[in-house]
């Protein structure tokens, strides 16, 4: 049992925090998010070139540093703190997670391009688990995909998508790599409340080569579930950074805001509210570390730990974010302070990769299955 970071991990975290403090100031971020394309491709390359960030959680043979869940956790927390919109979660955790576990040279080559920053690969799956509406059928040249995908976050920024589909004659899920510019793929893009861009996809007679299929047809359901758990653990870590900022800003505000002749931090009810927020954050951290460390365990242990974390973090996000706004009063509801943007990201995280009820149900179901 050990909960200490090793030296390389500390270095990764500190370098990243320093980099973002300098290069990702909130006002600059706001302008980026308001404009087009809504993110910074040049910064993404610097993540790869200057920080080696994009490969931090990838295997060494793919040009990564051989890290894993802990590295993802550290990056995501730092991204949460600075409210980074760039698609580390979608590309480096989810898509790279799939590719790293998929056989074949094409997958390995694409993975290496992720690590060096030249490919932005983004998943297009229904969330949570289930609802594979897209059909794939074999053609003489490979595959043809038809169907729709909803709310694929970061898809407008992608060079490639990983699309889930059902292959005719199989019952499970299959995953395909789809180049963004492929004929037959149409994206309808829109912003999200939390400053990202998402798209609905329409695949109509979308033709792919034989190598587009990752792994075996119909055999990717378990991998998909694993990735949803890894994604959930990653947003839990991001939430830690988001909540730390919400708490810090609120603490600063109540110490400065004066009403009734004193700083409102002097009111016991306000003090206890800040403590309650702090308690939620402490527990969210404990559960998130647990989930990250459990990602390599059995599917059941992993799922129980991830549901534990996701429920704990979602409830913390709700409580911390709502009270941060409440204690800020009207100012907390505006788009003028960073707070509002952190609030919206916390709200999105609450339900990303399954809301509280989804994870309560799954946890209850898994507890009925003997270990």
């Amino acid at each position: 049992m050990n909960f200490e970071l090793d030296m390389a991990q500390c270095l990764l975290r500190d370098n990243l925090d320093n980099f973002l403090a300098r290069q990702y100031r909130f006002e600059a971020r706001r302008q980026i998010v308001l404009g087009e394309p809504g993110w910074q491709p040049t910064l993404w390359r610097r993540f790869a070139d200057e920080l080696g960030l994009l490969g931090a959680g990838l295997p060494e043979q793919a040009g990564g540093s051989g890290g894993g869940a802990i590295e993802h956790m550290l990056v995501m927390e730092a991204f949460g703190k600075a409210l980074v919109v760039e698609p580390y979660l979608e590309c480096c955790v989810l898509a790279a997670g799939v590719l790293a576990r998929s056989p074949g040279d094409a997958a390995t080559a694409l993975l290496a391009r992720i690590a060096e920053g030249s490919a932005i690969v983004v998943p297009a799956w229904s969330e949570p688990v289930g609802g594979v509406a897209t059909q794939a059928r074999r053609t003489p040249d490979g595959w043809q995909l038809d169907g729709r995908k909803a709310v694929a976050v970061a898809a407008p920024w992608a060079t490639h998508l990983i699309v889930s589909a059902q292959v005719e004659g199989t019952t499970g899920t299959s995953l395909f790599v789809v180049p963004r510019q492929a004929q037959g793929l149409a994206l309808q893009s829109y912003p999200t409340i939390d400053g990202r861009r998402a798209a609905d996809l329409e695949c109509a007679g979308l033709a792919l080569t034989a190598e587009a299929l990752l792994g075996t047809a119909g055999a990717s359901q378990a991998l998909l579930e694993q990735m949803l758990d890894e994604g959930a653990a990653a947003v839990c870590a991001e939430a830690l950074g988001v909540m730390a900022r919400l708490h810090a800003d609120t603490l600063a505000y109540v110490c400065e805001r004066r009403q009734f002749g004193q700083a409102i931090a002097g009111f016991q009810v306000i003090q206890h509210r800040l403590v309650a927020m702090h308690l939620k954050i402490e527990l969210a951290r404990a559960a998130t570390v647990f989930a990250s460390l459990s990602l390599s365990k059995t599917a059941r242990e992993r799922a129980l730990a991830v549901s534990t974390a996701k429920v704990t973090v979602a409830e913390a996000c709700r409580f911390v974010a709502q009270n941060a706004v409440q204690l800020h009063g009207g100012m907390g509801m505006t788009d003028e302070l960073p707070l509002g943007s952190y609030f919206k990201r916390a709200t999105a995280i609450e339900r990303e990769f399954g809301d509280v009820d989804h994870h309560l149900r799954r946890h209850a179901r898994l507890e009925r299955v003997a270990a």
């Binding site: 709310v151 893009s189 409340i193 009207g330 509801m333 709200t347 009820d357």
Partner: protein, 407 residues
């Protein structure tokens, strides 16, 4: 004791219902049912007021001599319920928020200048109470109004002035003297928004909507004939106005409608475990718990209404209703966001009728996903205001502690 409405009440309700069936056209209904916050589309609100005024119903609470209909508290309650059920937007706030104060404290000249326009929807009011440094502690407000002959000269700033950028008049509290007690030395003024020296800064909310403003005053001259009540006696006028505002809090009818909507939406959302979200025992029990809270609040409101109808005062019930109603309303926006699923993350304000311009980038084409999902995040964000404005929940607790506990 009995629960049923009296026959006269039912007859009134049917009259209102018949009027609304005719008056609320598609345009008004869209404005009323597609709101993203408590603030309706400005133009629709005026259009509805004009229809009401034409019917003689422009001012439910005003005395008949000023063009009001002198409805009882029960009638006003029934009207609101029917108005909500018909999907009409709320009328502009001036009729209810400042009209009664003008009637009570105004001179005949002021009555003549302000009441007809307020009734017809031509005079549109905003409220200038809060200042950047005076929110919950309203009595600490500072904006000076210096006596200069026939005028008061105002310099300073008001904040959270809803719709100030589209209103032509403001009722505001200003400081006309600095005596020991902060409540003294405040005056209640009626301010022409076209006066020289006024500038309006938009405040964009995190939902992207521009409804709120900060208003700056640079030596703005207010004729003394626009002071309501005596100079220095503005706190009395404001207290009357706030009491009146509080006496009409009845949030349960709207919450019940929201629950109906939510229920109908949940019945269309496919669920992991088969069936719809409504078949999920967890969601169904959360919905039942919310309905129970709404029904309990409704009964509490009706019992308070009964007290008022019997000539009593709602007293502290107003604080109870404010606390409970806003908390439940926020909870319903959470459930709606749960039901919305992945599309609840999409930012699609164009699918609805915001209370003002939307200032954050958004699509303008076809709505993706269900309509109810498109509005869910906007309502969630905007509804945070409920526990903040008009006396935050914490302030209401302080009021109740002082009064009911004798602490």
């Amino acid at each position: 004791m009995y629960l049923d409405w009296r026959d006269a009440d039912l007859a009134f309700r049917d009259e209102v219902r018949a009027f609304l069936a005719d008056a609320v056209d598609d345009e008004l209904r869209a404005a009323g049912t597609r709101m993203t916050s408590v603030y309706p589309d400005h133009h629709a609100s005026i259009a509805f007021q004009k229809k009401l005024a034409a019917r003689g119903w422009g001012a439910p609470s005003w005395p008949r001599e000023h063009g009001g209909c002198e409805w009882s508290a029960v009638q006003r309650y029934l009207f609101t319920r029917e108005r909500l059920a018909a999907g009409a937007p709320p009328p502009p706030l001036g009729v209810h928020m400042v009209g009664p104060a003008i009637i009570r404290f105004g001179t005949p000249d002021q009555h003549a200048r302000f009441l007809p326009g307020t009734l017809s929807g031509d005079v549109l009011w905003s409220q200038g109470y809060s200042e950047p440094e005076s929110g919950s502690d309203l009595a600490s407000l500072q904006m000076p109004a210096i006596d200069d002959g026939d005028d008061l000269v105002c310099t300073g700033s008001k904040i959270w002035t809803t719709h100030a950028h589209v209103s032509n008049w403001m009722f505001a509290l200003v400081r006309t003297s600095r005596e020991a007690k902060p409540q003294r030395g405040i005056s209640f003024v009626l301010l022409d928004m076209h006066s020289p020296g006024i500038s309006v800064r938009p405040i964009v909310m995190s939902s992207g909507e521009h409804i709120q403003n900060q208003v700056f005053f640079d030596r703005v001259r207010v004729p003394k004939r626009n002071v309501l009540g005596a100079i220095g006696d503005g706190w009395t006028v404001a207290k009357f106005q706030l009491e009146f505002e509080r006496s009409n809090l009845a949030s349960a009818p709207e919450l019940q409608l929201r629950l109906d909507e939510l229920r109908a939406f949940a019945a269309t959302v496919p669920h992991d475990a088969g069936g719809t979200l409504l078949d999920d025992p967890l969601f169904a029990s959360r919905l039942a718990a919310a309905r129970i809270r709404a029904t309990t609040l409704e009964q509490y409101e009706l019992q308070a209404l009964s007290t008022i109808a019997a000539g009593g005062s709602p007293g502290l019930a107003a604080s109870v209703m404010k606390i409970v109603g806003t908390e439940l309303s926020q909870h319903l926006t959470e459930l709606a966001l749960d039901a919305a699923g992945a599309y609840g993350r999409a930012y699609q304000p164009q699918a609805f009728r915001a209370g003002g311009d939307v200032r954050l980038p958004h699509g303008c084409g076809q709505t993706r996903g269900p309509l109810a999902a498109a509005v869910a995040p906007l309502r969630y964000l905007n509804d945070r205001a409920g526990t903040i404005y008009a006396g935050s929940t914490e302030i209401q607790y302080n009021i109740l502690a002082k009064a009911t506990l004798g602490l």
